[in-house]
């Protein structure tokens, strides 16, 4: 796991290989005076699920738009499946599926008509009936898309993106607005793509979604990539914590390497060396006969990393 505040640290330029589905170097995107993406590097390997996390306005959708060929970078280099998406080569569109954040439907067309039209517009072979069944839209096949619920529209959207099982699938917040059951079904579909060896790039602001699906994640904040790596790498670099409720007459604490915070009787320690600090703490409690109610120890979560990045930026 690598981490910086200003510069993303992933692979060095030139380090990408045929194993990379997406390579981005020094990408910047400006809209007038506003810089939405402020110099990012990315390497997304073939066959992995890569999650781009971040708050609204972090630059995730702008980055995806560039990768999908919708937007042009102000500066930087981008390669998707070995091609330049700016020129929108047909060979690239034939191998890539894209799910938009919302919209994109002719609302008067029915679900079946939409799939049948898509069948004629893309080069990847697939069958509307299969997608209707896979995404549980069969009972809504003759309903105009504009009359579908938000969750049903997202499922149809996903069906179009995965049509013909493209090599690379780009999903922009695929589960936003879905109920838990629908979200679960979407996760299943993404895991199916993963098992089929497809590359999936998704954006989300649901941390549990990234934890459940992604092989690697990058957290964007204010147009930059603040941290990237596998979940284990990212979490391992973040301080773990333990906490306990102390009696009011507890003696002075032992010397700990971590950061100690007290809130009433509750003690929380953020530690980069959990084993050492926890051992010292338990030894201290045992030696002084201190009872530790509600003792808990846990590694850092992705949420901790996320909040830490936001806190650092705001300082």
């Amino acid at each position: 796991m690598t981490r910086t505040r200003q510069e993303p640290v992933i692979a060095r330029p030139g380090a990408a290989s045929d194993a990379s589905a997406v390579v981005v170097r020094g990408l910047r995107v400006r809209y007038g005076d506003f810089e939405a993406v402020r110099g990012i590097d990315l390497d997304i390997r073939r066959g992995e699920v890569f999650a781009l996390l971040g708050t609204n306005g972090a630059g995730k959708t702008t980055t995806l738009d560039v990768l999908a060929g919708f937007g042009a970078p102000s500066t930087g280099e981008v390669s998707v499946l070995g091609m330049d998406p700016r020129t929108r080569p047909p060979q690239l569109r034939a191998r890539m599926g894209v799910q938009q954040q919302d919209g994109g439907f002719v609302e008067e067309l029915t679900v079946l008509e939409t799939l049948q039209l898509w069948q004629q517009l893309v080069e990847r072979p697939d069958r509307p009936e299969r997608l209707l069944e896979r995404f549980e839209l069969g009972h809504r096949r003759d309903v105009p898309v504009g009359k579908l619920s938000g969750g049903e529209q997202r499922r149809l959207d996903l069906a179009l993106a995965v049509w013909g099982s493209p090599e690379l699938v780009i999903l922009d917040e695929p589960t936003t607005g879905l109920d838990p059951q629908a979200r679960r079904r979407t996760w299943d579909a993404i895991q199916e793509l993963q098992e089929a060896g497809r590359t999936v790039l998704l954006t989300t602001h649901y941390l549990e979604e990234a934890e459940a699906l992604a092989d690697r994640v990058a957290i964007m904040h204010r147009g930059r990539i603040a941290v990237t790596g596998t979940l284990a790498e990212i979490v391992a670099a973040q301080p773990a914590s333990f906490s306990a409720t102390l009696p009011p007459d507890a003696p002075a604490l032992p010397e700990l390497t971590g950061w100690v915070e007290r809130s009433g009787d509750r003690l929380t320690v953020q530690s980069g060396d959990l084993q050492r600090d926890l051992t010292a703490f338990l030894t201290w409690a045992d030696a002084h006969g201190v009872r530790l109610d509600g003792l808990r120890a846990a590694p850092a979560s992705l949420a901790d990393v996320y909040h830490s990045i936001r806190a650092e930026e705001e300082q």
Partner: protein, 251 residues
């Protein structure tokens, strides 16, 4: 929706989307009625009102209404609506080319405009209004008008944020198309008449005049200037659209 016969080819993909768009027009009874009944009523009114007038003026007016209202305004609204709905953005992830996508989106409007011209032609024949004595010249005028209106629609879409706003943004050019096409059918083609060709619509209007009065293929400066003006406006609109067209909804 039936599957288009020619699929899997660039032409087949354009035809598939155009067919879907046409199906929507046919389903929309209000649009269908306004597209066909209104010109029918207008055509009837004109042939009865202007039956003794210059036939070139009547035919130019009919053509201008068909391409100005039937095509230019409708195509602008359709393109802008599809952009607002992010349909254009989605379709760009398919195997359609950008040009093919736009052709497919405006094709139904062009078909409706041609249908309106046919309605006008039938009315003229029924009520004895002299029509084109040179059918080939008339076809040339129609094609020139269609090309200019489509390019103008794409250019107008650049500056139109919503389908509702298209009712306003199309007004100036629609009036110019109508006025330009009609005025050149009765002004003497002498002196400084060429200045009128600076108005969009005037070029196709001159071609209609030749289609009704004859003499287009005799050569001469007038038809050449009319064609050049039409091409210039069409290329100008297309170049502007190509440079500034946005596929995403305007923010």
């Amino acid at each position: 929706m039936t599957t288009t016969a020619v699929t899997g080819t660039p032409t087949g993909r354009v035809a598939a989307l155009a067919a879907a768009e046409t199906r929507l027009v046919l389903r929309n009874r209000t649009l269908l009625v306004s597209s066909l009944v209104v010109p029918l009523g207008l055509g009837l009114f004109w042939v009865l009102t202007f039956s003794g007038q210059n036939p070139a003026t009547v035919v130019a007016l009919q053509l201008a209404v068909a391409v100005g209202m039937g095509l230019y305004v409708t195509a602008t609204q359709t393109v802008v609506a599809r952009r607002q709905q992010k349909v254009l953005k989605r379709m760009r992830t398919s195997s359609l080319t950008d040009t093919g996508l736009l052709v497919a989106v405006v094709a139904p409007s062009a078909v409706v405009a041609v249908g309106q011209i046919v309605v006008f032609a039938v009315l003229n024949a029924v009520f004895g209004v002299p029509f084109a004595t040179d059918p080939l010249a008339f076809v040339l005028a129609v094609l020139a008008g269609l090309a200019q209106a489509i390019a103008a629609a794409l250019a107008t879409a650049v500056v139109t944020p919503s389908a509702e706003r298209a009712q306003i943004t199309t007004l100036p050019l629609m009036f110019l198309l109508l006025a330009g096409a009609v005025v050149v059918t009765f002004v003497p083609l002498e002196g400084w008449w060429q200045a009128l060709l600076a108005v969009p619509g005037a070029g196709p209007g001159v071609l209609v005049r030749f289609a009704v009065e004859g003499g287009l293929w005799a050569g001469g400066l007038v038809p050449a200037l009319a064609l050049a003006a039409t091409v210039a406006w069409t290329v100008g609109f297309a170049a502007f659209a190509r440079r500034r067209f946005r596929w995403d909804p305007r923010r």
